[in-house]
Symmetry: C2
Subunit: 590 residues, 2 copies
């Protein structure tokens, strides 16, 4: 996407190397020393503590057994550490991708019901397909495709996903079962289940949610007032979920909450991540292809934007195409170690960065930490109430919901507002996949619509100057035999006929017209359709006894026009400046 | 699409009138006099003679009985005369739309086989749906949507359709039956049928084709040499098909060609167009909806481009939205009078224009002429060989095939070449509908791709001037603490991240950097995504101790930026000219 040697992306020595993915490990690994090791280890410890509950929670959100979250947090971290171009990105299960996983497998229907081995195997297959797609896109250097996910679409999508996730967690906070992949289905199911609410579960859930919101908003200022440094206060505040988990787990054990109908995490198998493989079934792959593609793109966009933000703080860079390769490898490794789709998470990467991680080695240490936890710590999680995990999810995702974007885009641009609103409503009303597809469609359509109706101003000379301005806004000099049009957009197929029409209108309205001069200063490109339109305009003007002239044509545009029939047959002239055109054609205006 | 009073589109007097379609008849009808009547009558006579064989031929091409072509040439002409904004457009069956009709109904499969009443009823329904869509688009003023059919797509599509039509007529020239809606199927079927060729039919077909090609290329020069005026020579040359038809019909009668296996047109029912109605079947409508939409758009584009070209020759205008209304009404009338989808044809409109038609009344007289012909002339057409009609089609459509467009677009722009080639190959290989859809998709994707990778130049000061040029092309002055970037494209979601990446690269590569100045002279618009990117860039630069500045921001863009957080928090300044920026920030460069 851009040239030039940079610290994290050394220029390849030979030609063929440019076509292979690079291995950033070889770069930073060579300079690894004891001080970096210390920083990385501290960061890894903090991230491990934060990741354990998060991994369990997101696995449940995806409709999978809790331990799958731990499995998905080991191999992907290792692979990313070898191949990733960000120094601090932490890869693993994240909220939005987990929601999309649940939606994708939910669509498969009866033969992959939540809780069944078929459901887990489908999640593994989804991770495999997503990984293969990311890897392929990276090797083909297609990272730029993610640019077509506009900011309004991403904002609307993430906010709607946050609301959907929150709605999906309410059932766990109430202690009931309710399914649905859009807001209407979810709320309907919840209302039906209202009479079955388990009061104790609701009390635990609401208390945990309130505590975690307070930790997020109130604890840090308190710690600062107590004299702690901002960074330490921040890190302590981020470990709030661990406290909530420890306390509710202890209480559940001591007070026998299970006997009172509170759903616990229960027995988590101890051990290393299992060796697994995707289902080799083309019919299933076809069904999962579109969800896998959407998960890949959303995961990539989330990961790259986090990575770029953090890299820039240390004047580093990340390579989008290299990120595709690394995320692809991470997802493939998840598929072969019992996991589900993963990507670079926002919260965990920021914690990793703030805790002082210097290199991807911190990810390796985190992976070791999580392996140790899944070998030894899982029995302690037996009494962890699921409502506590739901509370951690709700608090985490509510920070993603930003409905103020509606107000901001409304005041900036109605088209962007429409794209946000369409994505938000489609995601809430028709689920994550439809939401994304609608959003991308609407934003592309609105962009094309906008450029298809370019601003074309009739300009005239400002007396005593060489400047030309819009005749409708300024007192300017014009001449009945000449019209000057300035097009404020590159000319391409969607707007070429608008120009034809504008010129036709001018000719029909102005019987004395002899010259049309197009001021081309804002035209960055003229495609073949627009060239054809210019030929048509020229031909029609000629038939009507009018000459077409151009002025202020940009260098690259002029290069292209050279040698075309249009320029060969042009009756009028090409002027360097618009003033010269007026000077030559209607000197009496001056 | 454009404002201002014009001869053919009077400005509506009151507000509500703007929302109603206008009736151009009220405008030209008021000024109708005897001299106009004479011109229109002569033109109508010539067009009628030309239209009779053409209507029969295109009905056969669409897989319909020959008389349906006559039916489709009466009511649509009348409706267009009342509502159309072009003075000379001749509406009726045309080659490409007939081919698309055959493809659309062919997809319905067994329950609408060619020759059955169900097939005809489906064609009537297709005309109804297409008419309803055109009318709705016209009332909603959606004429601009046709602009998304780029010139390369139209060229590729029309050429491929010409080749497909030619291939489909070879079977009639050979006297065999062969079906297929793409080139591969068609050629395969023809090769299989090779042994069944009727030699006499082939001789008639080849002779007629050769004669008609000679009429087109050789007759006009001959007539000119004989001293006829260019216009009369042209009109005589256009009546060539009538001669071919008269001669072969007479020979078929005299020599009993039917007894030798030559397929004739046969008995055509005499009488007025019948009163018909579409099939009211939602399932069928759903199947025909997409073909109807594509037929509407293609027909509209063909009609409007012919109409505009002819109108411009007399300094008249046509209103695209009014044309939608008129074509919609024409197709609806076709559906209720036994016809099939129609549009404004190129050849017939040019003949009408050249023959001196002044107003749409010529269309009314043509409709009367065709009605008289279908009442009285049809018995005379019994002996007309189908191979002669096929020859007229082949000669007409081969003039649409323009493969030189491949060479022209290749030399002008590889992206446009790709769009032509994709449309051409997809149409030939997968039929008209897939061809159009692929073409539009490819051309939109290529356009987005092009604007998503904008030209971003690092510029420096040309010594002794106030001009800034690309550092890679010119010897210019720069400073290690400042980088000047000029973006040659409007900033929107697809290219916003490219700019982020470019700035990140510059910062990572230039450790002494303190200022980034964006020269915004070519930026016509900044959407919400790009604004977000600018905020991100500003924030990252600030974190790295670098200031972001803007220069030469256009008025409308600046209006929008006013009041945004970006401008409020911008650490740097907004300079009127780029020179002022350099003067202020790094005066030692000057």
């Amino acid at each position: 996407m851009a040239a030039g040697p940079t610290p994290t992306a050394p220029v390849a020595a030979s030609r063929w190397q440019r076509w292979l993915p690079s291995v950033p490990l070889l770069d930073w690994g060579r300079r690894y020393d004891r001080s970096t090791f210390g920083s990385d280890l501290v960061a890894a410890l903090i991230v491990t503590v934060m990741l354990i509950p998060q991994s369990l929670a997101y696995a449940l959100l995806a409709g999978l057994p809790a331990e799958v979250g731990l499995y998905a947090s080991v191999a992907p971290l290792l692979l990313y550490a070898v191949l990733g171009s960000s120094r601090v990105l932490a890869v693993g299960p994240v909220a939005v991708v987990s929601l999309m996983t649940a939606a994708a497998i939910g669509q498969l229907g009866q033969h992959a019901a939540p809780g069944t081995p078929a459901y887990w195997a489908s999640a593994i297959t989804l991770a495999f397909l997503s990984g293969a797609m990311l890897l392929a896109m990276g090797l083909m250097r297609l990272g730029f495709l993610a640019n077509f996910l506009s900011h309004p679409v991403i904002s609307g999508f993430i906010s709607a996903s946050g609301l959907l996730i929150t709605a999906s967690q309410i059932k766990t906070l109430m202690g009931v079962k309710a399914e649905g992949h859009n807001l209407i289905d979810l709320l309907g199911a919840l209302i039906q289940q209202l009479p079955n609410t388990n009061t104790l579960t609701l009390v635990i859930g609401v208390a945990a949610t309130a505590f975690l919101f307070w930790v997020r908003k109130g604890l840090k200022p308190l710690l600062l007032r107590l004299g702690l440094s901002a960074r330490i206060a921040d890190v302590i505040a981020k470990t709030g979920p661990v406290a909530a988990i420890a306390v509710t787990t202890l209480l559940a054990w001591a007070l026998d909450w299970q006997g009172q109908g509170v759903r616990l995490v229960g027995a988590i198998p101890q051990g290393l991540p299992p060796l697994t493989a995707p289902i080799w079934d083309l019919a299933l792959w076809r069904e999962l292809a579109m969800p896998a593609l959407l998960i890949s793109v959303v995961g990539f966009v989330e990961s790259v934007s986090v990575g770029q933000t953090l890299a820039a703080k240390r004047r580093q860079r990340i390579e989008p195409d290299q990120e595709l390769v690394a995320l692809g490898a991470a997802n493939l490794s998840a598929a072969f170690s019992g996991g589900f789709p993963v990507t670079g998470g926002f919260a965990r990467s920021v914690v990793n960065f703030d805790a002082g991680a210097q290199t991807p080695a911190a990810g390796v240490y985190t992976a070791i930490g999580i392996t140790l936890a899944s070998l030894m710590l899982t029995p302690a999680l037996y009494y962890l109430p699921q409502a506590t995990l739901a509370a951690t999810i709700v608090v985490a995702v509510m920070s993603l919901v930003d409905l103020d974007i509606l107000r901001r885009t409304w005041s900036y641009s109605k088209a962007d507002f429409a794209a946000v609103a369409a994505t938000l409503l489609a995601t809430l009303g028709a689920g994550v996949e439809n939401g994304l597809v609608v959003g991308v469609g609407v934003s592309l359509a609105l962009h094309l619509l906008r450029t298809s109706r370019p601003h074309i101003a009739e300009v005239g000379l400002v007396a005593g100057t060489e400047h030309f301005r819009n005749v409708h806004r300024h007192a300017v000099r014009t001449h009945a035999s000449l019209i000057s049009l300035r097009v404020d957009e590159s000319l391409y197929f969607a707007n070429a006929r608008t120009l034809e029409d504008r010129v036709n209108a001018a000719v029909a309205a102005q019987p004395e017209l002899r010259h049309v001069v197009l001021q081309c200063s804002a035209i960055n490109d003229i495609d073949a359709s627009a060239l054809e339109s210019l030929e048509t305009i020229e031909q029609r003007l000629r038939d009507a006894g009018v000459s077409l002239h151009l002025s202020e044509v940009k260098g690259p545009v002029m290069d292209r026009l050279q040698g075309t029939d249009f320029l060969k047959h042009l009756g009028g002239q090409v002027f360097l400046t618009h003033y010269q055109a007026i000077e030559t054609l209607t000197p009496d205006v001056l």
